[in-house]
């Protein structure tokens, strides 16, 4: 009976499913990011996590972390190897902390919760929905089976699948990043958690002094626990690196003598001095971090070249606050919010922007404002959101059908959501026919991009929104 291991596995799967479920509904995603000390250090729940870590150790990594769960599931067959290099994660953490002090947020690159959220929102959910949708279509259309399966299909679409299949042209980079993390399993089990994860580093720094500790009694030195440890935390002499232990409980049940136990010690035991970060390392870290700041001066004050989600006024503040979790892109009802790659510099990678040709900003909607876990997109109510200008539309008279061909069109005017119409027309007579020619009233235009989205000209749209 591996009771504790079973409970641990159950907990991992539970939290992973919960994570996917929350992201699927995108109602209360902030819950998960609140417990993440790397994202929100001052929140109460993050502090609670740190206190709990001080009591029991790195339980988060072994029992809760959704990325840890995925890594464990994919790495069942991976090898155990002690590679060393454990300090790297402290360096990464140091980089993040130092650059945060200098006003450049890079936690989102390496935070495991954000990585998983991004992968699930931008890759996993769209592809699952796509596959289910195509599966249904192939049965319904291929077999001419229009009712009642069709009704069921419509029901699933309007409830869980969503009426739009999301598509993110740039999401292959998120997928690639995630696959690299899983690919590292070829080298060793939980490679990411041992060597790279900065969140693990925070917990490790605290877990070093944790109260709960592993205790070995009357050991026969079979080394089974040391070989089997997924973090390679157990040393040759059966003592262990406390900060590396993620409490997976494997060593308890692998032990032939049942010698391993986790106990609450009465007297305090001195933490072993190893594998931490030395003074020399720290100096190196500081120096190296300054190199990274070189990117900041060039990209931090980048000019606003892309259409940002509603409510964003300061580009710099947006770059710093956004953790690139992908929630806003997941909820955007028109699929218009897309991740950028390098359009706004290195500091702006994966940040959302509006691509009107894929989807416009729905006038009567503020979902992205509602779901943003860090407040990078301000919490605007509907009235404020309707007044916020995202950009300005501009008509290219060489392409526009009424201007260049003297034919009737004004689809842009028809769709303009501003009650008094930001696109006006004036009449011109051509060959005895009245042609309405559109122009943009710049004081009224909110830059939602519906005109660009609906403009019938192809391949280039005659009306374009620019920030």
């Amino acid at each position: 009976m591996k009771k504790l291991v079973l409970i641990r596995r159950f907990s991992q799967i539970l939290f992973l499913s919960l994570f996917i479920y929350i992201l699927w509904l995108t109602t209360n995603t902030a819950v998960f990011f609140k417990i993440d000390p790397l994202v929100s250090i001052f929140s109460l729940s993050a502090l609670t996590m740190l206190v709990l870590t001080f009591i029991v150790g790195r339980f988060f990594c072994g029992w809760i972390c959704p990325l840890g769960a995925i890594i464990d599931i994919c790495g069942v067959k991976a090898k155990n190897r002690d590679l060393g290099f454990r300090q790297i994660k402290y360096y990464i953490l140091g980089f993040i902390v130092i650059s945060t002090f200098f006003g450049m947020q890079i936690a989102w690159i390496f935070d495991p919760l954000v990585i998983t959220a991004r992968f699930i929102s931008l890759n996993f959910i769209p592809s699952v929905v796509f596959m289910l949708d195509k599966f249904f279509i192939s049965i319904i259309k291929g077999m001419n089976f229009y009712t009642p399966l069709y009704d069921f299909y419509r029901f699933t679409k309007s409830s869980i699948l969503g009426i739009k299949i999301y598509y993110f042209p740039h999401s292959f980079i998120t997928l690639g990043f995630f696959l690299i993390i899983l690919g590292l399993l070829v080298i060793a089990k939980r490679f990411w958690c041992r060597i790279l994860c900065p969140l693990g580093a925070i917990y490790a720094l605290i877990a070093k002094f944790s109260i709960l500790r592993r205790h070995v009694d009357k050991c026969m030195h079979c080394m089974k626990c040391s070989v089997g440890c997924r973090m390679s935390a157990i040393k040759e002499d059966t003592s262990y690196r406390k900060e590396e232990c993620i409490l997976c409980m494997d060593c308890i049940y692998g032990c032939p003598d049942r010698a391993t136990k986790f106990i609450w010690p009465v007297k305090k035991i001195k933490a072993n001095e190893e594998n931490g970060i030395s003074r020399r390392d720290f100096l190196f870290l500081i120096t190296a971090s300054f190199l990274l700041l070189g990117f900041k001066s060039r990209t931090g004050g980048a000019k606003k070249r892309l259409i940002r989600p509603p409510g964003v006024t300061s580009e710099r503040e947006f770059l710093n606050k956004c953790i690139r979790c992908g929630n806003c892109m997941r909820v955007c009802p028109t699929n218009g919010l897309q991740p950028v790659i390098f359009e706004s510099g290195l500091a702006g990678i994966w940040i959302p922007h509006l691509v009107p040709e894929i989807g416009y900003c729905e006038y009567n909607c503020n979902l992205c404002c509602k779901v943003c876990p860090t407040g990078a997109i301000p919490k605007l109510n509907l009235v404020q959101k309707k007044e916020h200008k995202l950009g300005l539309a501009d008509i290219d008279k060489n392409i526009c059908i009424p201007w260049s061909q003297n034919k009737e069109c004004i689809v842009c005017e028809e769709h303009c959501p501003v009650p008094t119409k930001a696109i006006k027309t004036y009449d011109e007579f051509f060959a005895g026919k009245k042609i309405k020619k559109p122009y943009v009233d710049t004081s009224l235009c909110v830059g939602c991009g519906i005109c660009q989205n609906k403009c019938p000209t192809r391949p280039e749209r005659a009306i374009k929104v620019s920030p």
């Binding site: 009704d151 419509r154 009426i163 028109t334 005017e413 028809e414 609906k454």
Partner: protein, 325 residues
């Protein structure tokens, strides 16, 4: 012995020339098979020659109901027309096509009054309909439109199927005459129904002047709909001929008089408290245009439809009954 894991086996795999050729062959073969399967399932392009109707006539050409309650107005008007049983046969499928094009509330008068739709659903089921379908291809986000128009809630309560449109379920329109609408994608359910009830709302439209029943039929078309706007008159006339709606119910309870078709300002809405019912869409549209103090023939699609002899725009000589509820 312990089985080697994939991570251990992967670097050890050796591949011969023959094996490589074989692997490529299998890959190419499965690709071909996949694409044929894909084509078989998704590549079918069905076409349709339009709806066939029995051209049912009501007791009068046109019923104009005036009153305070849109639900009762619709019920009374249909009763005066001869009852819903005239149009809906037992165990038949009915399509009610309201205007749900915009994400706005009923008060903003951009979408059909939900109570008119509710009344029609009730009457269809009373007449013995098996299924009542309701959909619209919206301009704004469909989910928001359905919700905020109030139509989804009321129609679902009354037992109708309110659903979103699937982008793969279109058929191509085939006209037996030369038409700019040739091969235009039309939603399948609009053609595969026994009774087509068109329930537009009367409102202002900047391009054609007014959005009435014929313009509302654009809501069953897919494709790049913006292109329909050039020569819209002839296109809508042909589309009406293709769909041939059996019954037209024009909701003119609240009328958007400016900044249409999306509207938004409550000052632009005027209360006309009228409902127009008829079997000839062109006659209905002409009366509605007259209601808005416009010459029917100045609306391009009405004049084109009259030119093609699809219906009658002569409201002076038509049998029009006005009832007050």
């Amino acid at each position: 012995m312990r089985k080697e894991s994939i991570f251990e086996r992967l670097p050890k795999i050796k591949i011969s020339r023959k094996g490589f050729v074989k692997l490529c062959g299998i890959g190419a073969g499965s690709l071909v098979l996949n694409s044929t399967l894909f084509k078989f399932v998704f590549g079918q392009e069905e076409s349709s020659a339009g709806r066939v109707t029995k051209r049912i006539k009501g007791m009068h050409d046109l019923i104009v109901a005036k009153g305070e309650d849109p639900y009762i107005m619709a019920v009374k008007a249909v009763e005066t027309m001869g009852g819903m049983g005239k149009f809906v046969k037992k165990n038949s499928t009915v399509l009610i096509k309201p205007n749900i094009g915009w994400d706005s509330s009923p008060e903003q008068a951009a979408n059909t009054n939900p109570y008119v739709v509710g009344a029609l659903v009730d009457m269809c089921f009373e007449a013995g309909a098996k299924r009542v379908n309701i959909f619209d291809i919206t301009c704004n986000n469909a989910k928001l439109c359905y919700k905020n128009s109030g139509i989804e809630k009321i129609a679902k309560e009354k037992g109708a199927n309110v659903y979103f449109v699937d982008d793969w379920n279109f058929v191509k329109a085939k006209f037996n005459y030369d038409s700019p609408m040739q091969n235009w994608p039309i939603y399948r359910d609009a053609l595969e129904c026994d009774t087509f009830i068109n329930v537009p709302i009367l409102k202002h439209h900047s391009l054609v002047g007014l959005t009435i029943s014929m313009k509302n039929l654009m809501g069953v078309c897919g494709g790049n709909r913006g292109l329909m706007h050039s020569d819209i008159g002839i296109k809508l006339a042909h589309l009406t001929d293709f769909i041939k709606p059996d019954l037209t119910v024009i909701d003119a309870y609240r009328v958007l008089t400016r900044n249409g078709p999306s509207g938004g300002n409550l000052e632009d809405v005027s209360m006309k408290k009228t409902l127009i019912i008829g079997t000839d869409p062109i006659l209905c549209d002409s009366y509605a245009a007259k209601l808005m103090e416009k010459d029917p023939l100045s609306v391009s699609y009405i004049s084109q439809a009259v030119k093609l002899n699809l219906g009658n725009a002569d409201i002076m000589n038509a049998d029009i009954l006005t009832i007050t509820v």
